[in-house]
């Protein structure tokens, strides 16, 4: 049995893990950097241990310092959260060697899945579909054409030395192939001094569908259904939901089965996520496997009713999935949608917005979950990811979940750093989102309207009324700062 769990992470995920531990009667240890010394996740833990400087490379990424924290506090298990060391083989290895329970898969699994080429090969061997392509040595046009036909059009020609779209061509038919190849090779040669190219199937309007899986130490693997995470900005997920909208039940079943097959083939232990890319034609392909708890795990918790952190703990203690399920089949009830609230400015190229949070108010309402790492007075620094909170709406139907989430966002107040809250609402209110037509091009393709005409007037009207009432009532704020100090010039 785990008695004391050290959380090798920070912010909202540390707090979220602490919550489950508290319920299970497990003591918690938070680790922190200089920048985080006053953070809620440090204060909320039973114990805390100082790691080092604010930069992750001086604190959260330093394995020896975390081992020191484990030793000093006598923790018998470590939860890595997500990011930082969660998918570093050396970390998992170091903990195994120190005989401390690691709440993740075996080190060799972390290693295998962290390697794009080896994991792809392992999946192919296990019969899991991977994106068809050709990465052979031959650059002969006739050979490449044959390979393109094998892959099936449309195909993508990409520069081997590639990047930045140079030497990249989309080819929709056999006739276009040779001229496009010539131009791709020429572009690649000019841009990188290396004309070599490889081929990959081009997937039209792809969706990002992932499946939550769990494995136990007896070799059993089950899935906890899919999550739709297509709405991304620069490969960063913004909105996630479960179940995936408008997904053919047959494809859904197959994709979940294939995920189990993928995880079983490598003897997966603990919580993991198998990510797929799903084409318009219903074919799907393995992208990668994340060997940790995902940021978006709350949507799965909402529809299955399970606490995934509890499962991670129980499995690390040696319990089987059967004992966790107690004879019940996992089910998917209702619908859940999560959005990631970031300190970034959508009107200014999504630049991170840093500084002190002057006021943070999160809604407390039914069918709404808020996993946040900040409170009034928290400092958003440039050292870490600018995610402030995850807000998850639940409902019997997708529409109900969407409305609950929008209501939740309306009552989310962050004063200080600019946030993407209005942008998130704009996505949730977009007609294509409402009808559940999502793909990974969503945010590039659709203009997200997040400020309606007349709002400026409304806000200014409220402002004016605020000023009027303050002026007339002579509030303490007014007296404290004096009219000239804060209100600007008096004409």
């Amino acid at each position: 049995m785990i008695q004391k769990l050290l959380i090798a992470n920070r912010g909202e995920i540390s707090l979220r893990i602490q919550k489950t531990c508290k319920r299970l009667g497990i003591k918690t240890v938070a680790v922190y950097s200089d920048a985080d010394k006053d953070s809620p996740f440090v204060k909320n833990a039973d114990e805390s241990f100082y790691l080092g400087g604010s930069e992750p490379s001086k604190s959260y990424l330093v394995i020896p310092n975390i081992l020191k924290a484990v030793q000093a506090t006598g923790a018998d298990a470590v939860h890595p959260g997500y990011g930082f060391l969660s998918e570093k083989t050396e970390f998992a290895k170091a903990l195994y060697q120190a005989k401390v329970s690691f709440l993740g898969p075996r080190p060799e699994t972390v290693d295998l899945m962290g390697d794009k080429i080896r994991s792809r090969a392992a999946m192919e061997k296990a019969g899991v579909p991977v994106v068809p392509g050709y990465e052979g040595d031959s650059q002969e046009p006739s050979v490449l054409l044959k390979e393109a036909e094998r892959i099936g059009f449309p195909v993508m020609i990409k520069a081997s030395a590639g990047g930045g779209g140079k030497g990249m061509k989309r080819v929709f038919s056999k006739e276009e192939f040779l001229p496009s190849l010539e131009s791709a090779q020429r572009e690649a040669g000019n841009a990188f001094g290396d004309a070599r190219v490889f081929l990959e199937k081009y997937i039209i309007n792809p969706r990002h569908i992932e499946v939550q899986v769990f494995g136990d130490s007896s070799g059993n693997v089950i899935h906890l259904f899919e999550r739709e995470c297509s709405i991304q900005r620069r490969h960063q997920k913004v909105v996630e939901e479960s179940p995936a909208p408008n997904l053919d039940p047959k494809i859904k079943q197959k994709i979940c089965e294939v995920a189990v097959q993928a995880a079983s083939s490598i003897g997966y232990l603990g919580a993991g996520t198998v990510e797929f890319i799903l084409g318009e034609d219903g074919n799907f392909y393995f992208l990668e496997m994340n060997t940790r708890l995902q940021v978006e795990h709350p949507v799965t918790e909402a529809v299955t009713g399970f606490d995934l952190v509890e499962w991670q703990i129980r499995i690390a203690e040696g319990n089987t999935l059967a004992s966790l399920l107690q004879g019940k089949e996992p089910g998917q009830t209702g619908h859940a949608i999560e959005v990631r609230l970031y300190a970034e400015d959508p009107e200014n190229e999504f630049l991170p917005s840093i500084g002190r949070i002057e006021l943070a108010k999160f809604p407390d309402q039914q069918n709404l979950r808020v996993d946040s790492g900040v409170v009034t007075g928290s400092e958003v620094s440039l050292y870490y990811d600018p995610m402030l909170a995850k807000i998850i709406g639940y409902g019997k139907t997708r529409e109900e979940a969407r409305k609950n989430l929008i209501a939740g966002l309306e009552h989310t107040v962050i004063f200080g750093p600019v946030t993407n809250v209005n942008y998130l609402r704009g996505i949730l209110e977009h007609s294509e989102f409402v009808s559940g037509h999502t793909n990974t091009h969503f945010l590039e393709k659709h203009k997200i309207e997040w400020e309606e005409v007349g709002e400026e007037k409304e806000a200014l009207a409220k402002t004016a009324s605020f000023l009027v009432s303050r002026t007339v009532q002579s509030s303490s704020v007014w007296e404290a700062v004096g009219p000239k100090g804060l209100w600007g010039e008096i004409l």
Binding site: F415, N422, K457, T463, A464, L467, V468, S469
Partner: protein
Amino acid sequence: MNRTFRLRWKEKEYVLDLGESSSRLLDPENGWESLLTHYSWTKEEDGSYSLPDGSVALLKSGKLYIHTKGKTFQFSIKGKESSNSEAAQFEIKSPMPGKIIKMEVKPGDKVKKGQTLAVVEAMKMEHALRAGLDADVKEVHSQPGDIVSQDQLLVLLS
């Protein structure tokens, strides 16, 4: 009691003419104005103010924050700050706290409008700072590796 205040929001400056129990909102650019009714805000324990409709307001550090109808607006209420002045174009300041990863000019260089002068990085994101006009580089105040704060002067053009 007659007070006029200036508010800045998104590059625009508004003049608020506050009367006894109502106020007029004057937009010098568009010329619209509206008469407003007088609401009563309630002061909360955390120092913020609220309205029964869920609106929240806070005054802090020269800023006025208003959250209304589910959206947040932030106004600068420092009266003297002039918006988009001529001088501002010559002062290249860091838009955010971050680290200088590139400084592409040195004093004496001639730069063209749109040319990248420096690149600042914060939270894994890069942001290029460009010249707003053709100019000469007069002074350079930082170099790659420097940690800079928001609005810190990096390059002075002339």
